[in-house]
């Protein structure tokens, strides 16, 4: 961690920033940086679409009656919202986007191990997204992002449901290809002198994520194929009228879909571990603990799926086993949270947008994590399962967690990706609006769920109306909060202040090349001058010497 390797060769000499021409982003480019940005921009567009769907859902819920859209279409709205946000926004953004852009740069590689596979993985998500959006013209799927049979087999929207299945199969395939690529890249393409424990924590997180995705996604694919058979050719894998078992689908679905939560959040944990140290000018606290905890979450994450099924008629012993496994996940997650807080403690916090979003992430993810522990307890879960408490919980994890983390990452690496700085003032406005909007939208949902409001309903008991109005106002603030970011990002990309190679004085390898980096990342061989987190007054001189020599 603290070793200062003797530099062997100049890394940046002669590296001129390399702007990628705009049309390159529309090609079958095999450059990991182009693919990373392709993923980020595409997924962000899907985020805006998913957000628009969510806004429609919330406006509908401003009143207890279903008066904006009819109940059947309402079901399509939240189904597509969930599907888009999970499969086309968070997963592609954190793994495809940040993973592709950063992993090779962080480990001193020229590209990913399989560049063409990488491009294929990205280009699979485009037809998947277009198909899903196109299904609005034929009647989109309306059975929730979980698509539980028999409802998903008996649905009126046969075509929409079939398109949904195909779309999930495509993104699933993309995810598997990406996972293989990351594992091979991280395992075999680290630069000379970088062992596993001097690798940035984001790479550890990507490693854990990829293992998880590789093990779990094929099961989802299997479930989708069988569901497709039931839907289209009348087999009876999950259809009880023909002797099938709908609960088996739930096992298969959640075997993937709970780990999918970690696929979404582990890379964000990695992002946070990269953002906090340079902006608080302290080494990450407990590097090994954070690295091991990622792998622990990966291992435990495979054995918690049945906590989604405490009310599904699972046997007792299964509930107890999964309750204990679920509660245990709190331990490695807690280790990470405590380590981040300890990193901040005593630092010199530069409260710019990246750190604000990172701290926003910790404070909101904490709430999602704590409600997660409550949900892990089987008796507690049984009352609030399928209610707004669960909606609140997973939005605190996936919005407060993933989205805040993604924003922290975008503000942190935007200078590296584009060669321009984002405007700090608008970044802070963006943060404040997002933070307020998020808590206003999802905070009161905890109360709704505990008091008795089920999720996925267009009509609800009028006693819940006042709290729903607050949630809807929050959602509109949240929708509006993206405006300053979009304007800031687009404007800054073209006209923003020029970014130096290393505007944050950060120590991970990606900051040792130009902003934006040249093709193949470095002119000569990259040089490991310091450990990735050797911040701190005591290291300052050594660091400057090492950098000067390099």
């Amino acid at each position: 961690m603290t070793q200062t390797l003797t530099p062997t060769q100049s890394s940046t000499a002669g590296a001129e920033p390399q702007k990628t021409p705009w049309w390159e982003f529309f090609t079958f480019s095999v450059d990991h940086k182009v693919i990373g940005i392709q993923y980020l921009v595409t997924s962000f567009m899907f985020y805006l679409i998913g957000g628009a769907l969510a806004s429609a859902v919330r406006v509908e819920l401003a009143t207890p009656d279903s008066d904006l859209v009819d109940p059947a279409f309402y079901n399509s709205l939240f189904t597509m919202h969930g599907t888009v946000m999970i499969f086309l926004w968070i997963v592609p953004a954190v793994t495809g986007g940040f993973g592709n852009y950063l992993v090779p740069l962080m480990i001193g590689a020229r590209d990913m191990a399989f560049p063409k596979l990488n491009a294929i993985a990205f280009w699979l998500t485009i037809p998947a997204g277009l198909l899903l959006m196109g299904s609005f013209f034929v009647g989109p799927a309306s059975t929730g992002w979980t698509a539980y049979p028999p409802l998903s087999i008996l649905t009126d929207e046969h075509v929409g449901q079939a398109i949904w299945i195909l779309s999930i199969l495509l993104v699933g395939t993309s995810s598997i290809l990406a996972a293989v690529n990351f594992i091979v890249t991280i395992w075999s393409m680290r630069m000379k002198g970088m062992d596993l424990f001097s690798m940035p924590l984001f790479c550890w997180a990507m490693m854990a994520t990829s293992v998880l995705a590789l093990l779990a996604t094929p099961v989802l694919a299997g479930a989708m194929v069988l569901l497709g058979f039931d839907l289209l050719i009348g087999t009876n894998f999950f259809n009880p009228t023909g002797g099938g078992d709908p609960v088996v689908y739930q096992h298969l679905f959640w075997f993937y879909s709970h780990p999918a939560v970690y696929v979404m959040i582990l890379p964000v944990f990695g992002i946070i571990s990269e953002v906090i140290p340079p902006h608080s000018r302290k080494p990450i606290f407990g590097y090994k603990a954070i690295a091991y905890s990622s792998m622990m979450i990966c291992a435990l994450g495979l054995f918690v799926w049945a906590h989604h099924m405490f009310t599904s008629g699972t046997p007792d012993w299964l509930r107890v086993f999964f309750m204990v496994a679920t509660l245990l996940v709190a331990v490695p997650t807690g280790i990470k949270v405590f380590s981040w807080v300890a990193t901040l403690w005593g630092g010199k916090l530069r409260l710019d947008s990246p750190l604000l979003f990172a701290m926003g992430f910790i404070s909101t993810f904490l709430i999602g994590g704590l409600s997660g522990v409550m949900l892990g307890s089987a008796p507690v879960d049984i009352h609030v399962h399928d209610t707004y408490f669960v909606v609140a919980h997973f939005h605190y994890v996936l919005f407060g967690g993933s989205v805040f983390g993604i924003y922290a990452g975008l503000y942190h690496w935007f200078p590296k990706m584009t060669g321009r700085m984002l405007n700090e003032f608008w970044g802070k406005i963006h943060f404040v609006l997002t933070f307020i909007g998020m808590h206003l939208t999802f905070g009161p949902m905890h109360i709704l769920g505990l008091q008795g409001m089920p999720r996925r309903v267009a009509q609800y008991d009028p006693q819940f109306a006042p709290i729903n109005v607050i949630c809807t106002i929050g959602a509109l603030i949240l929708a509006f909060s993206t405006v300053p970011f979009v304007i800031n990002a687009v404007y800054s990309w073209f006209k923003g202040e020029q970014a130096p190679d290393n505007p944050w004085n950060a120590l991970t390898l990606e900051w040792t090349t130009s902003s934006p980096p040249i093709p193949h990342n470095w002119v000569g061989d990259p040089v490991l001058a310091t450990g990735p987190y050797d911040y701190g007054e005591e290291y300052k001189e050594d660091r400057q010497e090492a950098i000067a020599v390099s």
């Binding site: 307890s377 399962h385 009509q459």
Partner: protein, 328 residues
């Protein structure tokens, strides 16, 4: 002296956090009225876990806020922070403490979980509470009894529960001294049907206060979930299987029965009422229902299987009266 002051401050702050957490755990007011024995057990567990969560919340958010104020970079200060990488004692402490706490929560949860189900046989068929068993439909018996039952779903439930030991079978009016009141529940898009006997089927659930109630539940079309928020219990109702739910109502009153599992367009409208009656009111109500049934069996639309009903009958008979407005 300085060290002592610091120590005293830490002890005082931790004491205040613990006190605030315990107070919040006891006074959160987040749950609706507890109308059954299980709900009381549930609330104890919920409040305890909430208090623990509140403690962690206050500690972490407190440290974050303190850091923002105390450790933010001052103007012109370009120095780094201290180069602290790790502290083994601290790391062991914050791994061990949460591990002990979550294991304790797991044990307490298991304890409450088994208590919520009463003295059930956890080993196999005769378990109650929120359980299921695949409905074993004896086809021969089913045919024999077919003429005696008003619909096939009812007979299926009756046969399934007759396989279980120790609890009263569905389809029998509970006598005064019986321990368990068994009611067959059919869930369908978008209504609940409660079968008390072969004759009595209602859209509203009535249960006597203080008796153990056992619901033998099955679904005729898609997944549904039976939930009464004031009882804190929920169980999916699954086509092709029979699931059970047991509870003991304690507080007389009217409570909502909610479908919690997405079941189609009018899922949000699949609501009805559960009335916890005094024993006298319950007996009276049951008698009334018997009279209605004997006078006009067809009056209860929902006693017929859904295959014999039109969609309009469902919606008109069950859903429209629940206040649903359809745009279609």
């Amino acid at each position: 002296m300085k060290v002592n002051n610091k120590l005293i401050s830490i002890v005082v702050i931790i004491g205040l956090i613990i006190a605030a957490s315990i107070w919040y755990g006891r006074n959160n007011g987040l749950l609706p009225v507890a109308a059954g024995d299980e709900a009381t057990l549930y609330d104890g567990l919920f409040n305890t876990i909430l208090a623990i969560a509140a403690g962690f919340f206050l500690i972490v958010e407190g440290v974050l806020l303190y850091s923002i104020i105390k450790f933010r970079k001052r103007k012109g200060d370009e120095a780094d922070g201290p180069a602290i990488h790790e502290n083994l004692t601290l790391e062991i402490a914050w791994t061990a403490i949460p591990t002990v706490i979550v294991m304790w929560v797991a044990i307490y949860s298991f304890d409450v979980y088994t208590a919520m189900q009463g003295t059930q046989d956890l080993s196999g068929m005769a378990h109650g509470g929120m359980h299921n068993a695949v409905a074993h439909v004896d086809h021969a018996a089913h045919h024999e009894s077919g003429g005696m039952h008003s619909n096939s779903m009812t007979s299926k439930a009756t046969l399934a529960s007759s396989n279980n030991n120790g609890v009263m079978m569905a389809g029998v009016i509970p006598s005064e001294d019986s321990d368990v009141v068994a009611i067959n529940v059919s869930a369908m898009q978008f209504a609940w049907v409660f079968n008390y006997t072969d004759e009595i089927a209602t859209a509203e659930l009535h249960v006597p206060v203080g008796k153990k109630i056992r619901l033998n539940m099955n679904a005729v079309d898609v997944l549904h979930a039976f939930w009464v928020p004031q009882l804190r219990i929920k169980q999916d109702v699954i086509p092709g299987r029979e699931t059970y739910l047991e509870f003991t109502p304690r507080v007389v009153g009217e409570y909502p029965v909610v479908c919690a599992e997405l079941c189609g367009s009018y899922h949000g409208g699949m609501r009805t009422t559960m009335v916890i009656d005094t024993p006298e009111d319950y007996a009276k109500w049951l008698k009334e229902q018997q009279e209605i049934a004997s006078n006009d069996p067809e009056a209860i639309v929902a006693s017929r299987p859904p295959s014999q009903m039109s969609e309009q009958e469902y919606l008109a008979g069950k859903v429209a009266q629940m206040g649903i407005t359809s745009k279609k």
